[in-house]
Structure formats: C-alpha cells, structure tokens
C-alpha cells in the first residue's frame, strides 16, 4: 500500500510540474502578445493608414519598386542601407525594415515586383539589422569596453561587404521560386 502511495505521489508531482510549466508558457505567450506584438501592430496600422491616405506610400513604392525588381537595384539598395553612418539610424526596432517590408509586400501583390524577388528583397532591406544595438548586444555577452570599441566599427564595415553578398546568395537561392 505504501509503495502504491509513493508511486501515486510521484505521478501526481510529475504531472503537476508539467502542467505548471505549460501553463506558465501560456502566460508568457499572452504577455508577449499584449505587451509587444499588439502595440506594434497598432503602431504599424497607424503608419499604414497615414502613408496610404497621404500618398507617401505611393511615392515610396514608386521609388522602391524599380530598385526591388532587379538584382542590380537590390544590390544598390543593400549598399545604401549598409552605409556605416546610416545603418545604426535605420536599425531601431527594425521599424523601418518592417515598414519597407509591408510596402514591398503590397507592390508584390499588385504585380509591380515579381514574386521571386521576395527572397533577395528580404535580405536587401535588412543589412542594417541590429546595427543600433551593438553596444547593448555586446554587453549582454559580457564584452569588455575595448571589445565594444573595436566591435562597433568592425560590424558596421562588415555589413558593407556581407550585405550585398547576402543579396547575391538569396538571388541564387530564389531561382525556381514562384515561376
């Protein structure tokens, strides 16, 4: 009888632990949605409304579409975005990359940009990723101040090289996509 009791207790504890963790996982998920995702959707929704109603969207789209529908254009775009002075300014929260992403998406839907350019475009609009966050990111990895001093310019210059490279690799991998 005692053996049975201890088995039951173990099973009960185990199940309780698993359920508790999964419940906590759900709580964390809802937390992120309410604190981070929904506010951002609201913010982008406002931007989408404004740029569509004012015509800024068309202007931006007309500038971006020709660039985004050829390999050369995408390479130019990736180099511009990777310019070391510009890239940290374009970085924060990936807000600009996300707005450009939404704009290019509508252009793809309208048929102004061929869909196979979606993949290289994803890399062309993103060589600045995290360029605003280098000191903080390095501190999270417990880097010394000297490492940050060298790391910031090194990463910014590296993007000028790897930005266009990423577009070319993505272009090669987009062969046969949606055609």
């Amino acid at each position: 009888m005692e053996g049975l009791n201890s088995v039951l207790e173990k099973v009960g504890r185990g199940v309780g632990g698993v359920v508790g963790r999964m419940y906590q996982a759900g709580r964390d998920a809802i937390d992120v949605v309410i604190r981070t995702i929904l506010p951002f959707i609201a913010f982008v929704g406002l931007i989408v409304g404004i740029i569509n109603a004012t015509g800024i969207g068309e202007l931006l789209a007309n500038t971006l579409s020709p660039l985004a529908s050829s390999l050369a254009g995408l390479l130019v775009l990736s180099v511009i975005i990777a310019i070391p002075v510009l890239s940290p300014l374009l970085g924060p929260g990936a807000v600009i990359a996300q707005i450009i992403g939404v704009l290019l998406g509508t252009q793809i839907a309208d048929g102004n940009i061929p869909p196979q350019y979606a993949l290289p475009a994803l890399f062309a609009i993103n060589p600045q990723v995290g360029c605003d966050f280098i000191p903080v990111g390095l501190s999270l990895g417990e880097a010394e101040p000297e490492t940050v001093e060298v790391g910031v310019p090194a990463i910014l210059f590296s993007r000028l090289i790897t930005g266009p490279i990423s577009v070319i690799i993505a272009y090669v991998f987009s062969i046969g996509l949606y055609s």
């Binding site: 996982a25 992403g101 869909p115 979606a118 890399f123 995290g130 999270l140 990895g141 790897t162 996509l177």
Partner: protein, 182 residues
C-alpha cells in the same frame, strides 16, 4: 461645407484603413502565434538553461571546425531558445575576441528565423510578414519562401561571422601596433 465634410471623411478614412489592417493582421497571425509561443516556451523550460550552457561552452574552442558552432549552431540555438534580445547573452561563452562576430551572426538571424519560428522575434515580424503577405496575395504558398529564407539566413550568418572576425582581428592588431609604438 462640402469641402469640410470631405476633409472629415478623409480624416476618418486614415484610421479606418489602419483599423482594417489591424484586424486582418491580428486575426490572421495572432492565434497561431500564441499557440506556437506557448509550445516553444514550454519546450525551452523543459530543456533547461544548464543544457544550453553546456552546449554553448563548445563554441569557445580554437579550430576551424568550431567556427561552425560559434557562428552557426550557437547563434541558431540561442535565437531559437532565448529569442531576441536575450539570445546575445550567449556571447558570454565566446572568447573576448570573437564576441563582436558572434553578436553579428546572432543578430543577423533574428529575421530569417521568423518565417518558420515567429516566436523567436515576435516584435519584429513584419520584415518577413510584410513581404510574405504580398506573395500570399498572389495565391502562392509560403512554405518555399520561409524555408529558403531560413537556409540562406544560416549561410549568411556564418559568412558574416567570419568576415566580421577577420575585420576585428585586423583592427585589434593595428591598435596593438599603435599602442606599442606610442
């Protein structure tokens, strides 16, 4: 009066457009995302921090074969389990001179991963989703795009790690030389 009414309509139209977009996005992606977030949170809590730390310790070793762990496997695992921005804390396990390159690799993976695993960077989904929405509107499936985005992302972060490492080594050497002559 007509002009004023037109202006008023235009004004409210801005917010209606935004609102329609909000509902489409919130209704379209959030339900799946919430369940996925829950599943991954639970998985990470079952794996536990200890096992992650033990794996991360491998990334600090010398040798070419360990660059694959340092600039490919560890960034991918870190971004998947710890998500943006806590994934960069895995840099703790990387030798000092490799930290910028590790950060560069990890941060460059926070968008390519979102095509298949949106939990990893839930606050910045629209880089991928924005473009993907256009492809979807044309009637194509997104599986191909998401998978290729992930694979190209992995190739790019490894290259980025190596290139940044090369530049850091050059700059550090030059600094040391300057310090020695000064």
């Amino acid at each position: 009066m007509d002009a004023a009414a037109e202006a008023a309509e235009w004004f409210i139209g801005v917010f209606q457009l935004g609102g329609e977009w909000f509902v489409a996005v919130a209704g379209g992606i959030l339900p799946t995302l919430i369940i996925l977030l829950t599943a991954v949170n639970a998985l990470v809590s079952f794996i536990g921090q200890d096992r992650l730390d033990r794996f991360a310790a491998l990334a600090g070793r010398e040798g070419v074969q360990y660059t694959f762990i340092r600039y490919l496997a560890l960034p991918v695992v870190a971004v998947f389990t710890l998500t943006n921005p806590m994934c960069y804390s895995m840099g703790t396990f990387v030798p000092e001179r490799n930290k910028p390159a590790f950060y560069d690799a990890a941060v460059s993976f926070v968008h390519p991963i979102t095509g298949l695993f949106p939990h990893a960077n839930a606050g910045e989904l629209f880089v991928y989703l924005g473009i993907a929405a256009g492809v979807e509107a044309l009637g194509f499936g997104l599986g191909q795009l998401a998978l290729r985005y992930l694979i190209v992302g992995m190739i790019v972060i490894y290259i980025r790690g190596l290139v940044t490492q090369f530049i850091v080594d050059r700059m550090s050497a030059r600094r040391e030389a300057a310090a020695a002559t000064a």
